[in-house]
Structure formats: structure tokens, C-alpha cells
Symmetry: C2
Subunit: 278 residues, 2 copies
């Protein structure tokens, strides 16, 4: 397994592999890998001749008051997971390489970036779309793998890829959960035991919402109220019921439905969602 830290070297590797007819799968991450990331890596290894893991804690997707500095950095452990899940390359560029002096270009995705996390974190998706474009241009993958836990991010990246005529298939993989239901997240490491217990109400509320829909509930307002009521143990950021592709709010539950929630357990912001066809 090779570690590469510049776009030029990364591209040289990818051109070489493409010239040999190899397909490349990319899993873009900020490191601090957990089983969710590992599931993406295994899918990338299975679905392509070669898999690349990128690790880059991207400063442009954090607001000044957010957790950029304390975000967990666990490169050695991440390398072992990369190796075990079949990575050929870890692409880990430096911030000064990614954002040199006078850096000034950003990719913005309107529409699908509005609301949900785009409402709470106004610069977040601009940072994500920009860094993913840069990673795509360096790694030149045939397919890129993202987790459904970041459902709006998946929608943003799919829209961006279509709109900018990028020749990359975006593969969205299911949420991986702890045995008790908590969605895996690098930020779960921030939680105290007590916060960890309270955080369980996120997934529990979503599972209850699914049961209500399966039992026939079709009114979005009723469902949102029900999910909110189930989240009394945490501070709710948002509870939204939206179209799974456009991220536009739904009144009636029909089509591809996404129930997306964000909440604070202490100082840690957590997100979760369920998505299904009605």
C-alpha cells in the first residue's frame, strides 16, 4: 500500500493504472475510520480493480467555531483499516498543498444544499463540494463511495457530478450502526457515557417513524412531531421529512422519502436518517 500526498503524484499513479485498463474506486474520508468507512472501502475494493482511500480533514467545511482542531486524527489506525480492506493507495494531501496561497475557487451546489445541514452549517456543502472536486481531479476514479448517513452530502455530490459532467459513478452505501442502533460516526468519540446513552434517542425515533409509516401514516407534519417528541433527551437542531433526491420538504409521504435529523448531545452534533420508498 502506497501513501501519496500530492495531486501530481496521485494523478501519475491513476494515469498509469488507467492505461493498464484498471478501474479505480475512491473512498473520500476525513480519517478517524470506523466500520462505516470500512464498509465503503470493502465496496470500493469489490467493485473496482483498485481502491483508493483519501484522508483529509478539510478545513473549508468547518466554520470557525466548529471542531476542526479537535477532530480526531488517527492515521496509524486508519492505515491498518485501509490495508485490511484492500486499499492500494492512501491519498493524504497536506492542507498547504490543497489550499495554497491565494486559494480562491469554490464549487457551490444551490437548491439541494439548502435546508437541513445546509441551514445549520452555511459553508459546509461549499467546502465539501470543493474538496470532493479536488479529490476527484487528483484520483480520477471511476466510482466514488459515500455513506448514506450523510444523506444530504450524497445528494449534493450526485447533483454536482451530474451538473459538472464529471464521469464518475457515485455509490451510496447504507448506514452502519452500533448494535444498539447508534449510527457510526467519528464524532461519537466525543460522547461521554451519559451523552452516548442519550444519543440513542436519534435512531430510536427514526425506527419508530418507520413503524408509523409502515402502519399507514402519510402526513409529514404528524411524523415530524412524532420524531421530535422522541428526541427529548437531546437538543434538536432539525427534524425534516424531504424528497430523497431533491431535499425539498414533503407534505405527504410518497416517493423516495428521507427523514433526516440533527441534534446536540452535550457539545457534540450528531446526524442520522432513514430513507425508503413509499
Amino acid at each position: 500500500m502506497t501513501i501519496i500526498d500530492t495531486p501530481e503524484a496521485m494523478r501519475a499513479w491513476s494515469f498509469e493504472q488507467r492505461a493498464l485498463g484498471k478501474t479505480i474506486g475512491l473512498v473520500p474520508t476525513m480519517g478517524a475510520l470506523h466500520e462505516g468507512h470500512a464498509s465503503l472501502m470493502r465496496a470500493a475494493s469489490r467493485g473496482n480493480d483498485l481502491a483508493v482511500l483519501s484522508i483529509f480533514v478539510n478545513p473549508t467545511q468547518f466554520a470557525p467555531h466548529e471542531d476542526f482542531n479537535q477532530y480526531p486524527r488517527t492515521f496509524d489506525a486508519d492505515s491498518r483499516i485501509a490495508e485490511a480492506t484492500g486499499a492500494s493507495v492512501i491519498y493524504a494531501p497536506r492542507a498547504s498543498t490543497m489550499y495554497p496561497e491565494r486559494y480562491s475557487t469554490y464549487v457551490i451546489v444551490e437548491d439541494v444544499s439548502q435546508g437541513l445541514c445546509g441551514g445549520s452549517r452555511p459553508h459546509f456543502f461549499r467546502g465539501v463540494a470543493t474538496v470532493v472536486t479536488k479529490l476527484f481531479n487528483a484520483v480520477l476514479p471511476h466510482r466514488a463511495y459515500f455513506g448514506q448517513k450523510d444523506a444530504q452530502q450524497c445528494a449534493v455530490i450526485k447533483r454536482m457530478t451530474r451538473d459538472l459532467d464529471m464521469d464518475i459513478e457515485i455509490v451510496e452505501m447504507p448506514i452502519v450502526r452500533e448494535p444498539d442502533g447508534l449510527a457510526m460516526s467519528s464524532r461519537n468519540a466525543y460522547l461521554s457515557a451519559e451523552e452516548r446513552a442519550r444519543a440513542l434517542c436519534l435512531s430510536r425515533s427514526l425506527f419508530e417513524a418507520r413503524e408509523s409509516i409502515e402502519a399507514g401514516e402519510r402526513d409529514a407534519h404528524t411524523l415530524v412531531a412524532q420524531v421530535r417528541a422522541g428526541m427529548a433527551d437531546v437538543q434538536v437542531d432539525y427534524v425534516e421529512l424531504v424528497d430523497g433526491e431533491t431535499m425539498q420538504p414533503l407534505e405527504r409521504i410518497a416517493g423516495t422519502v428521507l427523514v433526516a435529523i440533527a441534534a446536540w448531545a452535550g457539545k457534540t452534533r450528531l446526524i442520522d436518517n432513514i430513507k425508503f420508498e413509499v
Copy 2:
């Protein structure tokens, strides 16, 4: 010479040529080709195994009050010029292909897009950066050729290419002028004989500015005032003396200096510039 109208077909052609080891030069245009475009095409043909001319009148770089609808469309004449200058492909996508329903992704270049044309035409460079990204992703060129007449556009595209880790060399070619000095432009076709005569003061003022600098003038304000004074026959939009790379205003004339001007002759907006090392 082949005419291609979808990004998928364009990419298929480019992948095939790249697999054969061929290099590709792209000249992005809005058609209505003149000798300036032809000089770019000849450079692209000379500098690469294959040259692609793109023709697309890009709606997102026009404001609602601007000349999108009346912009000259001269496809048959353009095709003949393309053929004569060595084009292998004309890439001419439709607007509905480029901007499908729910299109929402834009590339913005801050800093270097400010001021000059970015001041007069606030959405212009966002439209240009976006469409050029899309053309790059479809044509996958090794080199792309732009005219120095659009000096700020060149600076924006160079910055964007660097920032987004695009593996494309941006080649800036000199301004091509009519025998009497007027910079070639597709918009010159809008000028009446009387406006055409008045428009000559743009290039004349720039040539006088160059003479002043060669004679030792180093104060930017003096020079800007001199250029403005020479442009009494037209309605000045801006006269700026800036760093040729960053587009930041200069006080003293030193380094790579760009004198850039824009003005209205009747209803037609014209731009011109001179660039030199001091």
C-alpha cells in the same frame, strides 16, 4: 471533422484518443469566430496531436439585460474556419444538455474575479468558470487556449485550474487586432460605421499608455487619467491598472502590469488591454 453534441460522446472520443497516446488541445468559444479564434485554433493544432473547438453560447454568463439572444450565431462559417485551422472535432452541446432541469452547480473564483469585468458583470465569471469546468470534463484536454483580450478571464481560468487540481495547461495567446488597431471581437459586428470609428480610441489610448510607460512614467493614477482622457469618444466602463496575475490594483507600475479597459460604443460593450513586464 466530427461534430459532437453530448458530453458522453465527447468523452468517449477523448478517452479513445488518449488511449492511443494522442494529446488534445481545446479552444473554448461561443462561435462567431474571427481571426483571434483562428490564431488559438492554429496554436492548438500545432501544440497537440488533435485540436477540439467547442462552440457554445453560454446562457449563464449573460445577465438578463445582456445580449444573449442577439449574440451572433454563425455555425456554418465557424465550421469552415475550424476545418481550415485543423480541428478534429467541433463540440457543440445544446443548452438543454448543458443545463438540464434542476441544474444547480456553479464554480466561483473569488479574489481574481473581483473588479474590472467582475465589477460590471457580477455573474459573468461564475458563468465562465462553470461552463469551462464542464467543457474540460467533457473534452479532457491536455491544453486549453484562451485569448489575452479576455485577460481577466485568463486569470480566472488559470487560478481555477490550479485551485481545483485540474491537470490542464492554460495557454494564453496574444490579442489579434484589425490593421487599424481595434481588438478583434465577435461583438464588433454590432458596431455601426460611426461607432466603429469611435471605438478606435480604445486601442489608441492603450498604445499611448505603453509609450508613456516606455518613456518612464511609473505612477498608476497618472496613467489611468491619461488613458481615460484618450477615451472621450466612448462611454468608459472602467480603466484599471492591475497586477497581471492577481488582478489587484497597482499604485506603482512594476512587475507584470495589465492596463485593462472597457467602454460602450453606442449599445456595444467593448474591452481591450495591454500587458507587459516593467
